[in-house]
Structure formats: C-alpha cells, structure tokens
C-alpha cells in the first residue's frame, strides 16, 4: 500500500510537469490547428533561464520562476514570428516541419551556449520530507503541486475573464468568424504562444529544481510525453491536457513499480493507444467536425 501511495505521489509530481507543458500544446493547437514541435525546447530554455537566474544572478526561486516565465513567453512569441507567421498561408505541414527544424536549432543552440554537460544548482528549495500515511511527500513535490495549481487557476481566470482570453477562445472556436468580429488574429496567436510558452517555461524551472538537472536535450522526451498527454485530453482542451498529464505521470510510475521499470514509457503510450481506440477524440475532445 505504501509503495502504491508513494508511486502515486511521484506520478502526480511528474504528471503536473506534463500538464503544464501539455497546456501549451493544447492552447496552440486550439488557435492554429497545428502541433508546435519546438514546444519541448521552449520548456528546456525556460529551465535554463531559471538555472541562470538562480545560479548566476542569485535570485530567489519565486522571482526566478516569474522571470523565466516572462523570458519563455518572449521566446514563444519569437518562435511564432519566425516559424508560424510567415507560413500562415502555407499548407499545414510547412509550419510543422519548420518547428521540427527549429527544435533541432534550439537544442544545439542551447548546447553551444550552455555546454552539453548537465548543470545543477544547489537546493533552491529546502528539501524537507513530510510523512503522509506511511509514504513521504517532499517539500519540492508540494512546491510543484502548488505552483501548478496556482498557474492553472490563473490560466482559467485569464481565459474566461479577460479580454484576450475571450479572444483566444473565440479564435479557437472559429478563426474567420473571430476575425470578422474585429479580433486581431495575429495578436491573439502571439498571445497564445506567450501564455503557452510561459507555462512551459515554468514547467522547465520546476523540473530543473526537482531533479536538479538542466541539459540541452531535456525538452525532447518531456515534449513528447506532454504532447501525448494533450492528445489524451483531446488536443484542444486545457482541462483535458491537465488530466491527461496527471494520468500519464501516475500510470508511468505505477507501471514502473508493479511491472517493470525498463518499460515505463510503454505504459504512457499504451494508455494513449487505448484511449484513442475507445474515444478517438480524446477525453475532452470537441469531436472532429469536417468542414463541408
């Protein structure tokens, strides 16, 4: 029982990270209908920004987190301007391939800039262990949960209460209609990238602090898993991406514990296949409506 509970806790911490990255995929897919393959790299850059702010500029973790989110948001906007905006009229495959290339450029750029070796920072958050029904929760895990929940509430607020949030949702529902109603689509898309990338950057900082490892390749697998979480949740649904991320994190850890740790990735992707077979639109998918 303790093992089960412990793995669920570990899984939720990991799943929160997937959820934060996944939200970015969902938001961007929502407005553009495209997969942003360099999103994992935005997360990696967010992590490195956090690393720089904590280790070089000696800032505390909260200011570092906020500044890294700001930096990632800027990078997201730049990525959009480079890889998506010039290709707005091109066939869908062009911007997607462009982001694939961009992801390689960002990975190797980071390797040039920060070196290829894994970086670490001395504990940015104290690591107390809190006993919990026989299992243990570390303070860092609590920190990850708290930050994730706060960011999600903030996102819900922005999406449902602010003007730009309404514009993002309108664009996601119907780009042309939104444009006719006076919504500036380019601005909305840039904002969507900013919001999604800020959350990705936050995930990067959290992961860097949690595992104490920053390296240029960290975005690849995380991006893939988070994308899986998004598909699981229905591609465009923010709550879906969150739930998908948490399910994925827990499933991986339970699978590793009870079946075999060597095959942990299989559990994540097996769940994906199962969900897609039973409910192809994902858990919270809008359902696919082909235009006639």
């Amino acid at each position: 029982m303790t093992l089960f509970l412990q793995q669920v806790i570990n899984g939720l911490a990991q799943g929160s990270i997937y959820a934060l990255i996944g939200i970015g995929f969902a938001l961007i897919f929502g407005v553009l209908g495209l997969v942003h393959f360099a999103h994992g790299e935005v997360y990696m850059i967010g992590a490195f920004l956090g690393f720089m702010l904590v280790s070089v500029f000696q800032l505390d973790i909260f200011s570092s987190l906020l500044l890294a989110m700001l930096g990632s948001a800027l990078i997201g906007v730049v990525v959009e301007a480079i890889a998506f905006r010039p290709l707005r009229k091109a066939p869908d495959v062009a911007p997607m391939v462009c982001t694939l290339g961009l992801s390689v450029v960002l990975q190797n750029g980071a390797a040039l800039l920060w070196g290829t070796d894994t970086k670490s920072i001395p504990d940015a958050i104290p690591n107390h262990i809190i006993p919990f029904l026989g299992a243990q929760i570390s303070f860092q895990q609590v920190f990850i949960f708290t930050v994730t929940i706060i960011l999600m509430l903030a996102l819900q607020y922005v999406l449902h209460r602010s003007k730009i949030g309404r514009a993002i949702r309108a664009t996601a529902q119907n780009k042309d209609a939104a444009a006719l109603m006076g919504v500036n689509i380019d601005t909305v898309i840039a904002w969507t990238f900013a919001v999604g990338s800020a959350l990705g950057g936050a995930a990067g900082v959290l992961v860097g602090v949690y595992y104490n490892a920053f390296y240029p390749m960290m975005g690849f697998m995380a991006g893939l898993k988070a994308f899986t979480a998004t598909v699981l949740g229905g591609l465009t649904s923010v709550p879906g991406a969150v739930l998908g991320g948490l399910i994925l994190g827990v499933a991986e850890n339970l699978g590793a514990a009870y079946i075999s740790s060597g095959y942990r990735d299989i559990f994540a992707f097996a769940i994906l296949i199962l969900v897609l077979l039973i409910k192809p639109s994902g858990l919270f998918g809008r359902g696919i409506q082909e235009k006639v």
Binding site: N212, A213, M218, D265
Partner: protein, 377 residues
Amino acid sequence: MNRKIIVLVAMAMMAVFVSGCGSQNTASTSKEITIGLTAPLSGDNAEYGQSFKNAIDLAFEKANANGGVNGKKITLVANDSKADPKEAANIAQKFVSDSKVIGVIGDFTSTAALAGSPIYQKGGLVQLSPTSSHPDFTKQGTYMFRNIATQEQEGPLLADYGINNLHKKRIAVVYINNDWGIVAKDNFIKGVQKLGGEIVATEAYLPEQGKDFSAIITKIQQSNPDLLFIGSMYTDTALIAQQARKANFSVELIGTGSLYSEELIKLGGSAVEGLHLTCSFYPLDPRPEVQDFVKSYQVKYGKAPTMFAAQAYDAANLIIEALKAGATDRLSLRDKLSAVKNFPGVTGKTSFDENRNVDKALTKLIVKDGKFVPYNP
C-alpha cells in the same frame, strides 16, 4: 517536364554535397596522417564525446608541436555519432571509404562501437575504442582494439569491494538498459553470487527515458538493501543518488570507473559522499606522465580531465606510439598497435594481449569530503 528539372536540380545538389565531402579529404597532403574520431559530440552523451575530442586534440597537438611523427603531422577528423548505432555505422562507412584515414578512435558507447565494427573489419581499418568495455567488442574482428578493462574484470572486483571490504550482504542493482549496462550488471551480479551475496532487487532504466528515477528508487527502497550498485554514467548516477537521498534512502552506493569525474561530485554534492568505485585513472598519481597530462588539460580546457578524457588521451598516444614504430597505412597500423608493450599511459602501463584487450590495474576509490581518495580499509 517540371519534375525532370526538379530531379536534375536535386541530383546536382547531391553531387555538390558529395564532392564537398570529398574535397575535405583531398585537402590533406601526404605530409599528413589522418586519424578519425567517432564519438557523441552532440546529443545526450555529448559531454563524454567532447572530453574524448579535447583529450585527443591535446595529444595530437603535443606530438605535432614536436615536429609530428617521422616528420608528418597528425590531423584528426572528428565525426559526431550521437552515440547512435545508425550514425556510428554511417561514420564507419565514411571513414572506410576515405583512403586518407588510416585509423579510427571510438566509439564512446559499446552499442555504437559494436555497430561500426563489422564495417571497420571489412575495410581493414583499426577501430580503437577508449571506453567500450563490452566483452564482445574485440571479438568482432581482428581490427578492434580497446583501451579499457572489460566488465569481466571490473564486475568481480566491484563485487569483492562490496562484500569483502564493505561487508555488505543485501545488494540491489540499478543499471542503464544498453549493451554496456547489461554486461556491467551481469558481471557484477555474477561476482556477488560467487562471493555469497544476495541480490535483492534489479531495476533497469532506458537512457532516453528522462531523469526521473523516483519510481525505481521507491521500488528498490522496499527491498531494503544495504548496498546499491549503479551501472551507469556519472550524470545519471549523481541524479539517482540525489533522488534517493531526497526520498530518505541512505543506502551505500557503488559503481564502475565510468563515475570517475569531478562532475559526479559537482552534480551529486553530499548525495554521492561515501560512494565507492574502481577506476583505472587517478589524477593524484605522482607518475610524471599523469601529472603532465592533468596539468596541460587543466590549462587548455579549464577543468580537470575525467576518466573518459584519460582513456581517450591514452588511445591517441597509443596510435602515436604505433606510428612512431613505423606504421604508415591501415594494415601496418594494426600490426604495430598489436605489438605495443608496456606503454606508460596515464591510465597505467598498457599492453595489448592477443585478443587486442588490455589488462588495467584498477584502484578502489571512495568519495570523501567531496574528493576521490583511495579506499583504505
């Protein structure tokens, strides 16, 4: 019509590309000796491949500064294998078909080295791996050399360290699931069982899986071991150690020579304090060749050499030794290299046996106060 033009343009571009690759080779004159390097210069294992390149550059620069070997300068052609067996095979093909290249150093991982071996063997090109410790590597043909103790030597010694020196009984194992990790694990477990120890848990992880080890650690913790063997590289080991300590798991740790790096201590901090390992390279060794290497590496790159850098440095110097003995082409390089005896390398006296393996003396080390020191029971 249009399609024909596109095909023509594509072919022209390919021709330019191919000849572009070719011109790189023709640039070297007969006054030069070209040695290839295949190592992960980017990707997950880039830090290890970079240390290879750094060390080999240093060795060749030293030789060239003294007028080269027999009046010829040595140039290094480095190719990035990303530790990917597919890339490693492509690079092998490239080196074999480039007549200027008379010997190749690499690869870093046993998996990548093994992928290249059949091609090097067919092309009659020396493949000297500084770090491939998989027992099967040199069995791939007559051109495969290694400059490292195999896991068949290291595994039992580590088992002896754990059971006879540290008096541990319940031993858990976590290893990286690749060719090297599997033999490291197998040989260690075999050694433990021979000495009467008990293996209470064995867990694998995939290299691509990211850096979350909490599931594995929680699982191992349940089996309550008194010693944890980590068959992995230093980065992952530092993270496993840290995540174990974060989970309140204070088991003693033991690992292979692959952990010998300042980075282990930098990344792992207090979590790797007391970690046990065996190693072929010890930078405080007073022998002049070791001190000279450590000093010049430190000056050139601003950091201390790792065990991987030391292995690669010796590999480069073994090639130089064979060249000095009169090797001029692929075949003679192999013959002269096989004949090297008692070469004073920074990782110990090196001689190749008839299977082109080396017998390295391994030292038992422990991390104490943030430093690697010899283990004194």
